[in-house]
């Protein structure tokens, strides 16, 4: 197991360097002078501009700038936003909200997704299974902002069950609607994954043995079928948690959830290139770390992975 962890961590290093280099290069290729942009419509004092350029290392060659940036990442310096606030500070304020939203969303995914998937798999080919499959296909094809608007319009504006947008406090209760919206697409995938896995497991010899020992159906389903079907689902959930942490941009923007995603959303809408890039970099890093942890979790759950090549 230790060898496996070491190998995976070592493999992640070139990917980490490559992704940051790629994003950094794209920023470098961005048209326009960021220093001139800072002055807005006012004239630029060349001495001040040179001073700022030196301060932000913009007078250095590309590769030196990149190395300074990487060095900064290791001491927790993620760069500065357009308004002059350190990105690390913004993250500290917004990240807890995003984590809360992601956890709530994950909870819905587990309860609804695994529940429907299990029933579907046990009743393969019956009407419940067929309608669950069709519904999941529909939810997979609905773009997230369409789901968000339909839910916002129907549940919040028409029925008044929830507030259409979230307040600055972002209580658990207010986050329920955005969390459901975020969860819908993943629920569709979890239903299909659980269903396939349950159908596979229910055919195994040990399930027949369990029945022939005289165990009740409920116990066989809970202990023998469900438990053994959950490995791919748990891995999917772990990957999805990473996606939820970084991929809530649109949903957070629409519901005005004060999280990382909305900060990015607003920076995109206002066209603040450098802020967008520093946030995207941080999100990619989070995504990489979560993926690495998922691989390790998978190896811990399924011994075949760590002994395979």
């Amino acid at each position: 197991m230790f060898g496996y962890i070491l190998r995976r961590v070592l493999q992640a290093i070139p990917v980490f360097l490559g992704t940051t280099l790629l994003i950094y290069f794209m920023v470098f290729a961005m048209p326009g002078d960021p220093i001139v942009a800072l002055f807005g419509d006012k004239g630029v004092n060349p001495a001040v501009a040179d001073q700022l350029r030196h301060q932000y290392h913009l007078d250095q060659p590309f590769i030196v700038q990149y190395l300074i940036y990487i060095g900064g990442l290791f001491v927790g310096d993620f760069g500065t936003s357009f308004s002059g606030q350190p990105v690390a500070n913004i993250l500290a304020q917004t990240f807890p909200v995003t984590i809360r939203l992601a956890m709530l969303s994950l909870l819905f995914e587990m309860i609804v997704g695994i529940g429907i998937g299990l029933v579907s798999g046990l009743r393969k080919g019956k009407w419940f299974d067929n309608s669950a499959l069709v519904m999941s296909l529909i939810f997979i094809s609905l773009p997230i902002f369409v789901i968000a608007f339909v839910f916002q319009f129907f549940f919040a504006i028409k029925l008044g069950w929830a507030r259409p947008t979230v307040s600055g406090a972002a209580n658990w209760g207010e986050l329920i609607l955005p969390a459901i919206v975020l969860a819908t697409v993943s629920i569709a995938y979890i239903i299909r994954l659980t269903r396939a896995s349950v159908i596979d497991t229910a055919d195994q010899d040990f399930v027949r043995t369990a029945y022939s020992k005289g165990l009740s159906r409920g116990r066989v389903v809970r202990v023998h079928i469900l438990r053994n079907s959950l490995i791919p689902v748990v891995t999917f959930l772990a990957v999805d948690f990473g996606v939820l942490l970084v991929g809530a941009t649109v949903t957070e923007g629409i519901f005005n959830v004060p999280g990382v995603g909305r900060t990015l959303y607003q920076a995109i809408i206002r066209g603040e290139g450098p802020t967008v890039v520093s946030f995207v970099t941080v999100m990619v890093l989070i995504y990489l770390v979560v993926n690495l942890l998922t691989d390790l979790l998978y190896a811990a759950l399924d011994p075949r992975i760590r002994y395979g090549k």
Binding site: Q11, L137, F145, F149, V150, I199
Partner: protein, 313 residues
Amino acid sequence: MANKQTHFVAPENETPLMAVDSVTGDSQPSNLWLDAWRDMRRRPMFYISGALILLVIFVALFPGVFTAEPPNDKCYLSNSNAGPMWGHPLGFTRQGCDIFARIVYGTSTSLTVGILVTILTMGVGIVLGAIAGFYGKWIDAVLSRVGDIFFAIPYILAAVVVMSVFSHNRNVVVIALAIGIFAWPSTARVLRAEILRVKNSDFVMASTAIGVSRSRILWRHVLPNSIAPVIAITTMSLAGAIVAEATLSFLGVGLPSSFMSWGNDISQAQSDIRTNPMTLIWPSLALSITVLAFIMMGEVIREALDPKARASR
């Protein structure tokens, strides 16, 4: 003990093996593509999604058949947010433009981006995946790590950055490139895995034995036998690209508002969600139905090409 038999000798009057073989020799050899085609034609979902896709293609090619006037010619503010009337079945936007005409003319944008992205991801993914899987060794190691780098960046986020770089000249090709360069690794991974499986087959060894060159073995023998899983995800990735374009346009980093695009329409309508929700609903519906059609078709093709899925149905 001189006549002790040490090995079995077949009696002379036994049925010749030829007779047994000739029984199966008459029937059609099984063919993955033919079987898949037969299987698809048995499924109602194939006809529903096929009809929808044909409709979408027809609307994209000949928008003039469906509306009398181009969408931005007659936008009168006196019609702002007006309901449906004769000749304008879906009503008007806040700018007084005909919603139906905008949707009809937006079809080709979505479809073009989808097709361009699919060609790009398939082209790059197939070439790199095939080379990585077939030649192995350091080529595989390098290509796989490069793929990991592009795969690690969620492609909406990546496309946002690319589109920010091209903030002054955005068009259909630029947005297709922005989505495509970060979407190819999944195709490459699927193909690489399949080629790793196929390249150890006997027919590959036979080709090597009769002196066929390595590259000819790859492109003429191994690739055609490993392409099925890639074909299975093609329509799915087309649907994904259409959603990605709409999402980017919705975020305001997609196509400029001079382009007719469902994402732009939805983005502009979002402030009217309380006063005139139908301006938001109609383009969303058009987008969702198109994506659903392609995903359904992808599902049918995937199940038809996978004998295991076919058997378990």
